[in-house]
């Protein structure tokens, strides 16, 4: 029996979560395979919400599959596709279906995805969505109406440690904490010196504002090739893969770049844990969920 993520966050020294993506289409066999593969190996499984604005099976449906297969899901919920009615309805539905954790996100813009002509919603922002979760937890909705039965979600959000400039990002981080975020899963980190500096700033901010316990899990995105690393550096804001890591990937024997990527991820996780840089890691193996156990083994966490 898996434990509630809320309890794990409180009790465990080093928390590990991983991300899985729902299929585009109704064949969930791969998704179920990933759930079964990872359910007992990590503390909770995030499910993306139409990731990169590409239409797929909903996060909620996949989270329900995780519940049915004995895992602990984290519902990712973005503000891109739903107005405040639909967001609240989705949250109530998630609770009814046994989902206990929610990660509140702004969401990518629609034009990066596979339906670029779609109307973007963004009725609420991620801070307001976090507040909305708190209202539902208190038994009322965003309009102040009473609910027949409240939720009791553990809410989290994201932060980009390498955002440039960082100050406005920290303003929003503080607002998210005040709006009820109890855990953060960060954008990918690769340069741990820079991440250390971010954590110092974040911890100072939390202490100054006397904010309650907030757990931060460092985002680990699996590097699959030098090309992918370069692509992220050029096209994904807030991700900076250092040249030294790209060289390691370039230097890999033919067909072995992924193996090197797994070693890099394992090494990062090991170092984060040894130096207690933060409270855990969130592994995003985008499309290579199959290899998450290998990353955990490299990290000494298997």
């Amino acid at each position: 029996m898996v434990r509630l993520f809320r309890d794990v966050l409180q009790e465990k020294d080093f928390v590990v979560t991983a991300e899985i993506g729902p299929p585009k289409g109704t064949d969930v066999s791969r998704l179920v395979h990933h759930i079964e593969l990872l359910r007992d190996r990590v503390d909770a499984l995030n499910v993306t919400d139409n990731q990169s604005s590409v239409m797929r099976v909903s996060s909620l449906a996949a989270c329900r599959l995780i519940v049915e297969h004995g895992g602990e899901p984290i519902l990712q919920l973005t503000c891109r596709d739903r107005n405040r009615l639909a967001l609240q309805s989705e949250l109530l539905s998630a609770w009814v279906l046994g989902v206990r954790n929610v990660l509140c996100l702004t969401g990518d813009y629609v034009t990066v995805g596979d339906h670029p002509e779609a109307k973007p919603v963004f009725d609420l922002d991620s801070v307001q969505l976090l507040q909305t979760v708190q209202y539902l937890n208190q038994g009322r909705d965003l309009a102040g109406n009473n609910l027949e039965g409240a939720t009791d979600f553990l809410a989290g959000s994201v932060v980009t440690p390498e955002a440039d400039p960082l100050e406005p990002q920290l303003v929003k981080f503080a607002k998210k904490v005040r709006a009820g975020a109890r855990f953060f899963q960060t954008q990918a980190v690769y340069d741990l010196d820079r991440f250390r500096r971010f954590m110092e700033q974040a911890r100072r901010l939390l202490a100054q504002n006397q904010m309650g316990p907030v757990k931060i899990l460092a985002g680990i995105v699996l590097l699959t090739s030098a090309k992918m690393a370069r692509y992220m550096n050029e096209h994904v804001p807030g991700i900076m893969v250092p040249e030294s890591l790209i060289e390691q990937l370039t230097g890999a024997e033919k067909g072995k770049a992924l193996q090197v990527g797994i070693q890099i991820a394992g090494r990062l996780i090991r170092q984060i844990q040894q130096e207690r840089l933060c409270d855990g890691v969130h592994i995003m193996a985008i499309g290579k969920e199959e290899r998450v156990p290998d990353i955990l083994a490299e990290a000494g966490l298997a």
Partner: protein, 227 residues
Amino acid sequence: MIVAERKPLDEIEAMLASAERVLVVGCGTCVAVCMAGGEKEVELLASELRMRAQASGQRRRIDQVTLTRQCDREYLDALAAYVEEYDVLLSTACGAGVQLLAERFDGKLILPALNTRFIGTAEGPGVWSQRCLACGQCLLHLTGGVCPVTRCPKNLLNGPCGGTNHGKCEVNPENDCAWTLIYRRLEKLGRLDLLDAIQPPKDYRPMTKPARLVHPAFQTESAPPTK
């Protein structure tokens, strides 16, 4: 002001279909300033259409006139005397002007020659950018005079998203990140405290379409004051 751009000539020609008598109606206000539908542009459009008609051997008479303002009824009356001579009126006003023209001359087919784009300002010669969404609830006093509702593609009210990129926007790297601008402005003004409060969800009721506004001095019993 309202910024518009002319539709492609092919599209305009296709709209005209078999019309033989065409009056191109310009507007001397916003669309004249943004060089899309004022007197000069109307002249140019009319002669382009004439040349095309001539080249394809189509019988088509194209005349032109530019009104002071197409969104104001009093300026449209001047057209009444000769509207009947035409099959269609091709308006180079913004969408508001086109509609008033259609309302005033309801027996006539009115065609739009422009695409109305936004409320904006001139950046420099020939360049305009969007600055106002007419949301009906201005919050520029909180954001250092930079509008996140208009300038952030995601309408974010509480700070930047993770896509902020060295001061630029991930949605269009040519645009500045509104929240970086806001932060820098407030920093310069020594008013970063304005960012402390969590902004509540926006009330979208003032944006309910179609909006209508009665100036207080003109409110009568038949038009009760809006609450």
